[in-house]
């Protein structure tokens, strides 16, 4: 049973890891600058953006998934735009899953990074400017190093959160073998078909990964006062 199981599981694991890695990378590129803006801006728009970013924390994944399904559909606003760029179908595709995960995991990157940036006082940013550092220089050589731990925390959280995502994937990805059948969906399938042994194995795997991720995060947060930054 175990061997037979093995053959089917690796594409699923690999797909899940790819999705998590891709989502983390994109959120790193987009979420970190957004967090910097959120931490520094005094614009009134900031509150709106902050609320939008936090929405996935309170909305049922099905609601988010439903709207994403509509937006990603060939005639939806993202779907048609993607089509204009020459992309294929977004719903029930890997690209669609990445978009979904991106939205769903956004707060998990933005919140720790924003609060890490928030710990940097205005005064220090101004001092950096007076020492000759322009806006980009300040971002790369002051803000990023100071927020290093927050960014790492955001990455780990995003990665782990994407690995365990279920509702949004179900709504926009379906369960297409080797295209959108990520781990959490596969577990659901196994339970449905009463294959508890497989469900156990996958669940235990996910549990272990999430637990390790959290240990890692708490260790990052714990390394204060030992003389090194």
């Amino acid at each position: 049973m175990f061997l037979a199981f093995d053959k089917n599981i690796w594409p699923t694991v690999s797909l899940t890891l790819q999705l998590s890695a891709m989502t983390t990378l994109l959120l790193l590129l987009f979420g970190v600058p957004l967090s910097w803006w959120l931490a520094r801006s005094r614009s009134r728009l900031r509150l709106v953006v902050q609320a939008l970013v936090a929405l996935p924390l309170v909305l049922p994944p099905t609601v988010l998934g439903f709207y994403l399904l509509i937006a990603l559909a060939p005639r939806g606003f993202l779907g048609s735009f993607w089509g204009m760029l020459g992309g294929g179908r977004l719903v029930f595709s890997f690209a669609g899953l990445v978009i979904g995960s991106f939205c769903y995991s956004l707060p998990f990157m933005v919140q720790p990074v924003t609060s890490a940036f928030g710990a940097l006082s205005d005064r220090k940013v101004e001092v950096a400017a007076s020492l000759g550092a322009g806006p980009w220089d300040r971002f790369f050589h002051l803000a990023l190093p100071v927020a290093k731990r927050g960014i790492l925390t955001g990455c780990v959280l995003t990665f782990a959160h994407t690995m365990g995502e279920f509702g949004v994937v179900l709504m926009i990805g379906g369960n297409i073998t080797h295209v959108t059948d990520v781990l959490s969906i596969t577990i659901y399938e196994h339970v449905e078909s009463q294959d508890y042994a497989s469900a156990h194995l996958l669940s235990a795997g996910l549990l272990l990964i999430s637990f390790s991720a959290l240990i890692l995060i708490f260790r990052l947060g714990d390394r204060r006062g030992d003389g090194s930054p």
């Binding site: 220090k124 101004e126 001092v127 950096a128 007076s130 020492l131 000759g132 550092a133 930054p229």
Partner: protein, 359 residues
């Protein structure tokens, strides 16, 4: 040369300041908190984009809103140190210094070893800011500010959060740097003693306006201005150490109006010092008294007098000749004043019971 003409409105607070400072050395912005002193520094540094007017430092125009000119903060050569901990925590002391030096690019006129030497921070370079004491941090912060090779140094109560010992360490270094580097310094303070010790020129700011300005010597000897200092009211004069008398534990200093004796100091001969002579330690006489315990007597002419509280007069006496005449304040009772017939232009002997060295 620093030209400032600044207007800024924030809520009910209005800043409207016009200053032309030809003075090299230390200019003190002096006044109560909330008067706008720090805001003036922020405008000079370029951190108040809503300000209008003109900022010109050492011939460079940094802001001229009438011509739409505004130089970004990182393009202005300033050294800026406040009372807060400004060092970057994620860098060592050396990393903090390099942050400034690395951004100077082709400018090699300032050297790390020299600055490290001035502030005596060679042993601290490998430490992170949190492992430094308050005084050490401020020394590193000032060294970092100088490594920017600034055209002007902006100091916003840089030592007010420190204890007396740490202040004592930093003030002489600052004094020396200001003079040797010929670097203009804008020094925000609400401590009269710091002003007396350090400033060459004083600008009094109240409610966003300049209410009074002048050299430290002139201003501190103005009766009205110095009355704010209460019992600390007194003249501040410059002098040079010329002689040590080891046996009597005295040192002699030379002022523009003659020589004075002060308690023995360890300073080298030739060093310039500042002395404070409190008005309550000075008495006046109309004739020379030969047999007396007082060591320091100068003669002068009364230039101004005012009743500062009922029955108490403060008298300003100019000792010496012409431009360089030394203003000294004396406090005396109304009765003494009447008995001695003291009035403007009266010749008097100024008798100083105590003179203290400002450090």
């Amino acid at each position: 040369m620093i030209d400032l003409n600044i207007q800024l409105k924030r809520g009910s607070f209005k800043l409207d300041v016009s200053l032309a400072l030809s003075h090299e050395g230390v200019t003190s912005l002096f006044g109560p908190s909330g008067s706008g002193k720090t805001t003036i520094l922020r405008v000079v540094a370029g951190h108040e984009p809503s300000a209008s007017g003109l900022v010109r430092v050492a011939g460079e125009v940094w802001m001229d809103t009438s011509k739409g000119q505004f130089l970004q903060p990182h393009q202005r050569r300033i050294g800026w140190v406040s009372q807060e901990v400004d060092l970057f925590d994620h860098l060592t002391a050396l990393g903090n210094l390099k942050f400034a030096l690395d951004r100077l690019k082709d400018d090699t006129s300032i050297s790390m070893t020299e600055v490290v030497d001035w502030f005596q921070i060679g042993d601290l370079l490998g430490r992170y800011p949190r492992a430094l004491s308050g005084g050490q941090r401020q020394r590193v912060a000032m060294a970092r500010a100088l490594l920017r090779n600034p055209r002007i140094l902006l100091l916003d109560e840089p030592i007010s959060a420190l204890d007396a010992a740490a202040r004592f360490e930093i003030l002489p270094i600052l004094d020396q740097v200001a003079r040797e580097q010929e670097l203009p310094i804008l020094y925000v303070s609400h401590s009269a003693r710091e002003v007396a010790r350090l400033a060459d020129y004083v600008v009094c700011v109240e409610a966003g306006k300049v209410v009074r300005e002048g050299t430290t010597r002139d201003l501190l000897s103005q009766i009205e201005f110095s009355s704010h200092h209460g019992s600390e009211q007194g003249a501040v004069i410059e002098a040079e150490v010329v002689l040590h008398d080891g046996e009597d534990h005295l040192s002699q200093v030379r002022t523009d109006a003659g020589c004075l004796w002060i308690p023995r100091t360890d300073l080298d001969l030739g060093v310039r010092v500042r002395l404070q002579i409190l008005a309550r330690d000075v008495s006046l006489a109309t004739a020379e008294i030969s047999q007396d315990s007082i060591l320091n007597v100068l003669d002068g002419v009364v230039s101004e007098l005012r009743e500062v509280e009922p029955g108490v007069f403060v008298v300003r006496v100019l000792c010496g000749e012409g431009e360089k005449a030394l203003p000294i304040l004396a406090r005396l009772t109304k009765r003494s004043r009447v008995r001695l017939g003291i009035d403007v232009n009266k010749k008097v002997f100024v008798r100083m019971k105590s003179i203290s060295l400002l450090d």
